[in-house]
């Protein structure tokens, strides 16, 4: 085996430019695959962190009728906050949120919104709710940048808000935008307006009621509560997992094409080597090598491309990947309309497992591709091979 490695190294270096072209193509695959996988892991991490900070905290209790995909359920999705949570709420470890359907009229245009009542002093979300704790001539409200941009709204703008109280009677008042916040979670920005919880309760005659209860501690054991559905953090972030899974499958096609190109080059190189080095093969056999050993020799030689590529990748890939992890990758298109938790700039995260698995996949694939044409050697007639006759 040691001789095989020595010979493989000598032959590879001897092949000159051909080897280096293969190695460069392969190393490019290495770096790109690791980078893309890193972006996916980074996105997964960022999406879940942002969702935790802006939307779901450590998990939630939903009112049993609440369905975030059906705004028509909102008027049936409210109930008094269970007594058992009052202590947690007092300690700011749980935040009730009341959601009702409303309509705003920015510049005379009609826009349906979810009106969310939130405690201005809450500490679970990064929402700038302290801006709701202000005295104005209208109801203070905060909105996301996505909605502000779509509706051309700015801080200080007044707009009319219309809603129905718990009995179904219309009411309307003016609200003033006290802050426009930017998050990477469109689910909390699009078509939503945040006002002080107590004010919304008063407006809708739903004193002490809530639609959602968000808790800070995801680790605490939670028991079922009648009329409320416990939604652990894992369940609330399952959509991110599914999205990443879908994207990863899509990316695999790209990896496949990259690897295919690199493997095509390796395969060609192997076929050419076996064709041009028949005398050498004949000599090995004449010297007492078994056919299996000769096949092994050529396979190792081919597979060595990937080892060399790994070394070359490390030379330029590590600085590149480290730089990317620092500055991130800013997507060339506006991602705010994507409708999912995604930042404009994604920061790749590379784990040891990710790098090792990528190296293993590429080395194994290269080995298989190198072995494939080498099998021909086993069928060669050594005498003919020694004479250099084409077989």
């Amino acid at each position: 085996m040691k001789t095989a490695f020595k010979l493989a190294c000598r032959n590879l270096i001897g092949a000159g430019l051909r080897t280096w072209l293969n190695v460069i193509v392969l190393s490019f695959s290495f770096v790109v695959i690791i980078w893309m996988k890193g972006i996916m892991v980074g996105w997964d991490h960022q999406a879940k962190t942002d969702m935790t900070n802006w939307e779901i905290g450590g998990g939630q209790y939903w009112h049993e009728n609440y369905d975030p995909y059906d705004p028509f359920t909102l008027s049936e999705s409210h109930a008094p906050v269970p007594e058992m949570f009052s202590e947690e709420i007092t300690r700011s470890e749980m935040e009730p949120m009341l959601i009702v359907q409303g309509t705003i009229y920015p510049q005379g245009r009609m826009q349906s919104v979810a009106v969310k009542g939130i405690n201005p002093k809450q500490k679970i979300f990064l929402l700038p709710t302290h801006k709701l704790d202000t005295v104005t001539d209208a109801v203070p409200a905060i909105i996301g940048a996505l909605m502000a941009r779509n509706l051309k709204l700015n801080v200080g703008n007044y707009l009319t808000l219309r809603w129905r109280d718990s009995k179904g009677t219309f009411d309307a008042t003016d609200v003033v935008i006290t802050e426009v916040f930017t998050s990477n979670v469109p689910a909390i920005e699009s078509g939503q307006i945040y006002i002080p919880l107590e004010k919304l309760r008063e407006m809708t005659m739903m004193d002490g009621e809530a639609t959602l209860l968000t808790f800070a501690d995801s680790e605490k054991e939670r028991s079922p509560v009648e009329g409320w559905v416990h939604k652990p953090k894992d369940e609330l972030t399952a959509s991110v997992d599914e999205m990443i899974k879908t994207k990863t499958v899509g990316q695999s096609v790209f990896y496949g094409i990259l690897l295919l190109l690199a493997m095509l080059a390796i395969f060609d190189t192997q076929v050419l080597s076996i064709f041009r080095r028949q005398k050498e093969i004949g000599t090995y056999i004449a010297l007492g090598y078994t056919r299996r050993e000769v096949v092994g020799l050529f396979t190792v030689e081919g597979a060595m491309h990937s080892v060399l590529a790994a070394v070359v990748s490390a030379a330029y890939g590590i600085p590149f990947l480290a730089w990317q992890a620092k500055v991130g990758w800013t997507m060339p298109m506006d991602v705010s309309e994507f409708g999912m938790a995604i930042a404009q700039t994604l920061y790749p995260i590379y784990s040891f497992g990710l790098v090792v698995s990528t190296v293993l996949i590429v080395v194994l694939t290269t080995t298989v591709v190198s072995y494939w044409p080498s099998r021909k050697i086993a069928k060669m007639n050594p005498t003919e091979a020694l004479r250099g006759r084409i077989q």
């Binding site: 028509f72 359920t73 909102l74 008027s75 359907q101 309509t103 009229y105 510049q107 005379g108 245009r109 009609m110 009319t160 219309r162 129905r164 109280d165 009995k167 179904g168 009677t169 219309f170 009411d171 309307a172 008042t173």
Partner: protein, 244 residues
């Protein structure tokens, strides 16, 4: 002092002499405008910000509990049918060949993009049952003398906390209606015009509904042809008729 109060009451009584009470006015409106049944063709023009579109329909109405409407144009809406029985509403769409029931909060959605909601159409409770009415003023609208009625909700499950109604003092036809939020903000205004006498009753042929918080010229509802007390076959008001 006693004499002064008596004199004041006498003066008020004299001023109000000849003017029916608010509830009586509302009842007279009902008598004038409601019929056993009616068949009418109408057009609904929805004035949008950029363009307007007109939808025509034929409706069969019995009392205030049963109605059947078939949309005649434009081509996109042609064949769509709507059936209202008591407090239930079904819509049949020919493109999907399906009948769906509009219920719960879907009733709050706009009808064909107009300023009217299904709920506005469905509201068939008598005003005297849900509001306390008082005559607060008299005004002139387009040369017609009107009583201004203020209606305050006496039940808590009405959509509008208060309303204002301008009623023609001679014809007992409302010429304007305003709907208010609990806060007192004006939400919707309906303006009735083209009042004509059909089969002995006065009827406004044109109604413009306007969401006052929204830009635009509102939705114009025009009666093109109306007949009262016709023979309407009973099968019209069945779900089977939607697919016919």
């Amino acid at each position: 002092m006693k004499t002064f109060v008596t004199t004041l009451l006498t003066v008020f009584a004299l001023i109000g002499f000849g003017q029916p009470g608010a509830d009586e006015i509302l009842k007279k409106i009902d008598v004038n405008m409601s019929s056993e049944n009616r068949i009418f063709e109408s057009s609904m023009t929805i004035h949008g910000k950029r363009a307007s579109r007109t939808i025509t329909s034929r409706s069969y109405v019995v009392g205030d509990k049963q109605s059947f409407t078939e949309y005649l144009s434009p081509a996109r809406e042609q064949g769509t049918k709507m059936l209202k029985l008591e407090n239930q509403l079904w819509i049949y769409s020919p493109s999907t060949d399906r009948t769906i029931q509009i219920s719960g909060h879907m009733l709050r959605q706009s009808v064909m993009g107009s300023d009217l909601s299904y709920e506005d159409m469905m509201d068939d409770r008598k005003l005297t049952e849900t509001y306390n009415a008082t005559v607060v003023d008299t005004e002139e609208i387009d040369g017609r003398k009107t009583w201004v009625l203020e209606l305050k909700a006496k039940v808590d499950d009405v959509a509008y906390a208060s309303r204002k109604l301008w009623v023609d003092t001679e014809r007992f036809v409302p010429l304007r209606e305003e709907l208010y939020a609990k806060s007192g903000q004006l939400l919707k205004r309906s303006t009735m015009s083209d009042v004509v006498q059909v089969e002995g009753r006065w009827f406004p042929k044109t109604v413009v509904y306007k969401d006052m918080l929204k830009q635009g010229d509102g939705t114009e509802f025009k009666i093109l042809d109306i007949q009262f007390n016709q023979d309407i076959p009973e099968y019209i008001f069945s779900k089977a008729a939607l697919k016919m």
